[in-house]
């Protein structure tokens, strides 16, 4: 009761004070003026921030539109492949994501095994919800320290929670990086050519525009003075402010941004594409200048090799040191791959199917992916085999048709001619080209095939740099060199030049060897120069492909160990193999029996999916080849053994193949010979242990055996098959032995 009376008294006094003292104090004329001034200042701040954001974003939008127009950035195709976008979000939006980071951490740690240990030690990993960045960092350090202490303290820790500890430490390191990015003033996006740096930056710029955060987007090539001057020119300040009061204006801007809790992000794309010294020298000065203002940040993007060779040193003196973010460097999940493909298909209106093999090749480079879909826009043909050279050819034609003033083919011819002449295939000095620098720059702006690179010559006395033109990918270079060689040779009807160059490459094991020989063969075959192609295959078939893979960024990954065989099988053709090719296949099987397994593996897959070349090619090549049977038997036995004891990830394809054989009885008609049987059994057996379950559950497999038994004229084989069937029905493990018995029989009877 007394408390209630007291409370009533206090409320009365407050009302009295508000009604008399406070109101009379507030509503005198001085206070009124102060309130009006304050309101005016607030409105002024809001207007200034709004105007600044609007003007800067307008310019960023213009550049984005230009990129969209050139096809450099396509909104619909952007997908977050890895964490790089999230890291850039943390960098450009800053504290807005702080709570998310804390929540993610606390959710993660909530039920981990480490928490059980921590409870015993009366410790908590939890980061308080409203912690400041400094507190979060301290807590992360504290948690790391605790993990170290506790793992040393408990002998059984490694058994109990070592894996959880590693996982948690990874999470902490990501958290640490995100926190550093909140505060960092400069970050550098690094990645290889064509893996989506510009696309990512465009997307970040669009994101900032959507968030109504001020943003300036600059393409390095447009910078002709120092970076600072160029950026200042873009500021929407009156000229007299830029000239006389820039520092004051920047301080004001920083205050405005601080009040509105926003960051102004300056994005400088592709610093490696501007070779002017005045630009490169000004980078560190610009970073130093910007670092004075906490709410202004810069993102640079640069190709990995340039960054290491040239730009890393330029960022050395920048304080605080810039944060490096690598793009698309990590593993891409199957779900992401499916999504990327469906998005590309939808965007380019491509409705065909893409085979697994082609899919794998496409994901080796986002650039190849882009070229592939650009070339196949609006089509509905299935892609069973990806012929990279056809993609390059069609792409170059497309660009040539688009460009009116300059000719891409001429420049490409020029570059490859110089490479062939000098027998140097890495790059060509820009000064050696017969084209104007302006035209080269025009071409570089509009194509994805050629790019400019810096070549460093390290000397004992001084280091020099030369600007050179190179092909974006080794494989495009190989294709174009082969194309030029063929053009020269076809014109003269003399192929000695081609043989000379190939011999030089082959003898010195140079990086273009494999690609150039391969593409020369494809071309010769297509044009019907069969004698020359035969000679080429004979001369250069034993190239060590492994060496080549280790030393280049080649996109194709052949499934055949033998180089000659890989050329024959991957050559685009109608349904026809020449006699010398069939002989080569047979010879390879005899000399290198593992080739048979590779052929079986790939051709049965093609057979299942209706692709060419299929099993018929192998059967044709094996006609009258009695000598190959012992090898077949030997290696199939080995293969069966390994399949029996190991997991076969591609079993679905083989299961489909057997289904296909069951559905299409023509494959096992009267002409079925033992070789077909071998292939069938091999295909069946590649299922390994899975096949046992299948055979027990599904009568159709027993039926197929029964079918073979009925058709078999050979008494001994008939008996063997009967025996196999009975044994399988009784005991599924018998399949392995039964298969080997049949192979024994084949081996004995066909030698």
């Amino acid at each position: 009761m007394t408390i209630l009376i007291c409370a009533m008294e206090i409320i009365k006094k407050v009302f009295y004070w508000v009604n008399n003292d406070f109101l009379s104090a507030v509503f005198n004329w001085q206070s009124l003026v102060a309130i009006i001034v304050l309101g005016f200042v607030i409105i002024l701040i809001a207007i200034c921030t709004f105007r600044f954001t609007k003007n800067t974003n307008q310019k960023a939008k213009c550049l984005l539109d230009e990129f969209r127009h050139n096809g450099k950035y396509i909104d619909g195709l952007f997908i977050e492949l890895d964490e790089s976008k999230e890291l850039l979000r943390c960098f450009s939006l800053g504290k807005k994501l702080k709570k998310k980071i804390i929540r993610d951490h606390n959710e993660y740690i909530k039920n981990q095994r480490l928490t059980v240990i921590a409870k015993k030690e009366k410790y908590s990993f939890r980061i308080p919800r409203f912690s400041t960045e400094r507190k979060i960092m301290e807590k992360i350090d504290e948690n790391t320290q605790f993990l170290k202490t506790v793992s040393n303290k408990h002998d059984d820790f490694s058994f109990y929670a070592d894996s959880s500890k590693r996982e948690y430490e990874d999470l902490l390191s990501i958290l640490r990086k995100k926190l550093i990015l909140f505060k960092a003033g400069t970050s550098i996006l690094i990645g290889n050519a064509g893996n989506g740096k510009t696309t990512l930056l465009c997307n970040v710029a669009q994101m900032l525009i959507n968030y109504k955060c001020p943003c300036t987007f600059v393409n390095s090539r447009d910078v002709h003075s120092t970076l600072k001057n160029h950026i200042v020119d873009l500021f929407p300040f009156p000229v007299w402010i830029k000239n006389k009061h820039l520092t004051k204006a920047m301080v004001m801007l920083n205050v405005l941004l601080c009040v509105s809790r926003k960051y102004y992000v300056i994005i400088v794309d592709a610093v490696n594409e501007n070779d002017k010294d005045v630009f490169s020298d000004s980078i560190s000065e610009f970073c130093g200048w910007i670092s004075k203002y906490k709410h202004i940040k810069v993102i640079f993007s640069c190709r990995s090799e340039y960054y290491r060779a040239r730009y890393k040193s330029r960022f050395k003196d920048v304080e605080p040191s810039p944060i490096e973010i690598e793009v698309a460097n990590s593993f891409i999940s199957e779900r992401t791959k499916n999504n990327v493909l469906s998005v590309y298909k939808k965007y380019y209106n491509y409705s065909g199917n893409i085979s697994e093999d082609s899919r794998q090749r496409l994901f080796k480079s986002m650039l190849l992916m882009r070229l592939f879909f650009e070339v196949n826009e609006g089509k509905d043909n299935d892609t069973t085999q990806l012929y990279n050279h056809l993609i390059y050819y069609n792409y170059i034609q497309r660009i040539d048709n688009k460009l009116t003033q300059v000719n891409l083919t001429d420049i490409l011819d020029n570059v490859s001619d110089i490479m062939i002449e000098n027998l140097s295939f890495d790059s060509v000095k820009i000064s050696k080209l017969n084209t104007l620098l302006a035209d080269i720059n025009k071409i570089l702006d509009n194509n994805l095939v050629l790019s400019k690179t810096i070549l460093e010559n390290e000397g004992y006395i001084h280091q020099t740099e030369t600007t050179v033109i190179s092909f974006t990918f080794d494989e495009i270079r190989d294709y174009y060199i082969a194309r030029r060689l063929m053009a020269i040779c076809e014109e003269k009807q003399d192929f000695s030049k081609m043989f000379d160059i190939c011999s030089h490459l082959y003898d010195n094991i140079l990086s273009p060897t494999e690609g150039v020989i391969r593409y020369c063969y494809f071309h010769l075959f297509e044009k019907g120069f069969y004698d020359v192609s035969k000679e080429l295959l004979k001369k250069f078939n034993s190239f060590d492909q492994e060496y080549s893979y280790r030393n280049s960024d080649r996109l194709f990954n052949t499934t055949y160990t033998d180089f000659g065989l890989s050329i024959i099988m991957e050559c685009p053709r109608e349904r026809e193999f020449l006699d010398y090719e069939k002989k080569y296949i047979l010879k390879t099987i005899n000399c290198r029996p593992i080739s048979l397994i590779e052929l079986l593996y790939n051709l049965t897959y093609n057979e299942v999916n209706g692709y060419f070349p299929d099993v018929t090619v192998l059967l044709d090549s094996l006609q009258n080849a009695k000598t190959s049977i012992p090898q077949i038997k030997h290696y199939l036995s080995m293969e069966f053994d390994s399949a029996y004891y190991s997991y076969e990830p591609n079993s679905d394809a083989y299961r489909s193949y057997t289904d296909y054989l069951i559905m299409n009885k023509t494959a096992i008609d009267e002409n079925t010979n033992l070789k077909t049987l071998i292939i069938l059994l091999a295909a069946l057996y590649r299922n390994g242990s899975e096949f046992h379950d299948l055979i027990m559950q599904d009568d159709s497999y027993s039926n197929i055996l029964q079918d073979l038994i009925t058709r078999c004229n050979n008494t001994i084989l008939h008996q063997e098959l009967e025996k196999l069937k009975t044994e399988i029905e009784a005991d599924k493990v018998a399949l392995h032995d039964g298969m080997l018995n049949i192979l024994d029989f084949i081996s004995d009877n066909f030698e």
Binding site: K96, Y108, N111
Partner: protein
């Protein structure tokens, strides 16, 4: 109630489309007939943690952090979480719960997450949602 389970030899990812507060450790353990403070109770707690502790309420997260960036909710699901069009259609119904767990570092979880477990797990999820209705 719909959900997808992606399972390979390295990780288990679970996408639950509808959110229910009835998913908790106690209901999980009691469904599988395991007592909390026992040897198997400990294993199943680990399994539960691996499946559920990194759960995200996608819709909530979208509204809070990504709405301005991705004006369309479907864009957010497709571009950030790589969900297919069909999955997005399903997700559109009701509140959304997204789970992604990587059990690669926990051998016990990998062992317990076999096909038989997932059959039972499906029943558990169905039971949770039936009770909710």
């Amino acid at each position: 109630m719909k959900y997808i389970i992606e399972k390979n030899s390295f990780s288990v990812s679970l996408f639950v489309y509808t959110y229910s507060r009835k998913i908790n450790l106690n209901s999980f353990l009691s469904f599988f007939g395991v007592k909390k403070c026992t040897y198997f109770g400990y294993f199943f707690s680990r399994l539960y943690n691996a499946l559920f502790c990194r759960a995200l309420d996608l819709e909530k997260e979208y509204n809070k952090y990504y709405k301005k960036e991705y004006p369309e909710y479907s864009d957010y699901l497709s571009k950030k979480y790589n969900l297919s069009e069909e999955e997005i259609k399903d997700l559109r119904q009701g509140k959304i719960f997204y789970l992604k767990c990587d059990s690669s570092s926990d051998s016990i979880v990998n062992t317990l997450c076999d096909d038989e477990f997932f059959e039972q797990f499906q029943k558990y999820m169905e039971a949770v949602y039936e009770n909710q209705d």
